[in-house]
Symmetry: C2
Subunit: 263 residues, 2 copies
DNA sequence: AAAATAGTGTCTATGAGACACTATAGT
DNA sequence: ACTATAGTGTCTCATAGACACTATTTT
């Protein structure tokens, strides 16, 4: 889009001294040889996160091929020449995790020279947030929903461990422990000023569920009273009028988010 | 580092079922052919920002070559195979802007398929924050310190215009208006919870200077009383004991940041 | 009735905004 | 004395945390 705009004849931004030179630019482009410069490989890796049972979780799968065969890696793959980074992330999410229509956001680009033993490979990472049930229903069976053990408080950052539900440690491939750590850091940072729960809860939920999500992400308890007041005053959620059923205590009011963001 | 760790024999993380297979992995790597997959070019572009005279500014330079000859671009260039992304950013900053020992941080990776007319080129962007004087002293003469005109409030995001000091619009190359917009958005976001002024002010400054920086970044005034109280209570700055001189009014106390972060 | 969790009302401490006031330099 | 900006003291309002209290379900 911007490339197009830049080449249009009378774009309103062409006020100062831009040399038009359209023919010579065209000639230049025709002659341009991409292979002049060495290029790295570029992969997109997606952190598919959810929060349930008091734990932050992310989807990993056991690598069947070298390098790092047997270790656990994030769903990812090399980008194609005809897709944008986000399109690549969505494709990989669909092909490797069976997920579509989820919230995704670019996280960070990892580019250490030796991060992949094969060759120079950059990883442009994305975070996807999904409901726990969606992950349970749609994920192929060779994937593992790893529980994350976060060794840092607040938004300090650092590598994060993955465990099975039974507590076994899952050795992570490449620098994926760092990518997971960055994802947790980002999620914690977003918590204060964006309605993160939108993506991590079903359409109807109890305030307690929303509080659980916040506490799981932060890794520490939040004040119940203050949390309720803030959420109700935020204007982002509304009561459905319905209440939960079949509980052995006073049933909680059910709420929904006012504007469910598209994808 | 991670590649090394992953291949070490008895890493403590190898608790679950990792297939060792060191020989076969070595064989695999020896056979691995990088050229199997098509690869994009990867550039690093650096937004060198400063705040002075009530305006946010960024360094751009007029392109002498195609594509987008005559338009203004961020300092940038293709990454080399033996340097990390941050190393590339620092190299470009040194070579193209004459700057070293400045704060830099990765911003975002732009990957639209058509963002560069030559070929598929990803841009991993970085933000550098420097004092206004440092920029004035060190910048080569083919660069322009463009004043940014930010058409959005808060952290909405969107493209940003560059102007000369005299108000002339500088047409920007590629998607660099978007990259600048992202940089402004990020800077505004950091303002609330990190001492951004550290990087944008000289060693000694008046509280008014710090307030000016905050107002310039936010694009709107801040409450003077509350701002003073917050800054003094933050524990991040301390009085030097000295006062400004040669002013025709009550001279202000000079302050310094407690811990000047390294680079 | 007992147990368990949902939800309300109220008090207090803290921090932001508003504003009046005092302080100190040059002219 | 006058001007301009620095810096202080105080009042009010909004919000977070603490805590006691009430409400509503199952067993």
């Amino acid at each position: 889009m911007y490339a197009t705009m830049a080449r249009s004849k009378k774009s309103p931004v062409e006020t100062a001294s831009v040399e038009p030179g359209r023919d010579s630019e065209a000639a230049f482009l025709a002659d341009y040889d991409v292979s002049k410069f060495e290029r790295p490989s570029v992969a997109v890796d997606v952190v598919v996160m959810t929060a349930s049972g008091g734990a932050l979780k992310a989807l990993v799968y056991k690598r069947a091929e070298h390098p790092h065969r047997g270790r656990y890696a994030l769903p990812g793959g090399f980008i194609r020449m005809d897709e944008s980074l986000e399109q690549a992330a969505r494709r990989l999410l669909r092909d490797k995790a069976g997920l579509s229509d989820v919230f995704i956001e670019q996280l960070y680009t990892f580019g250490d020279v030796r991060r992949d033993p094969r060759a120079r490979v950059l990883s442009v990472s994305y975070v996807a947030l999904v409901h726990a049930e969606k992950l349970a229903n749609h994920a192929p069976k060779d994937v593992v929903v790893a529980e994350l053990v976060v060794p840092f408080a607040g938004e300090t950052g650092g590598p994060v461990e993955g465990h099975t539900a039974s507590g076994e440690l899952l050795p992570l491939a490449f620098d994926h422990a760092l990518i997971l750590g960055m994802a947790v850091k980002r999620l914690r940072g977003k918590l204060d000023y964006t309605p993160v729960g939108f993506q991590l809860l079903p359409d109807e939920f109890r305030l307690r569920d929303l509080q659980d999500v916040h506490e799981t992400i932060r890794g520490e308890p939040v004040n119940k009273d203050s949390f309720r007041r803030r959420m109700l005053a935020s204007g982002l959620i509304e009561a459905t009028g319905a209440r939960e059923a079949d509980v052995s205590n006073r049933p909680a009011e059910l709420y929904r988010f006012i504007k469910r963001s598209a994808t």
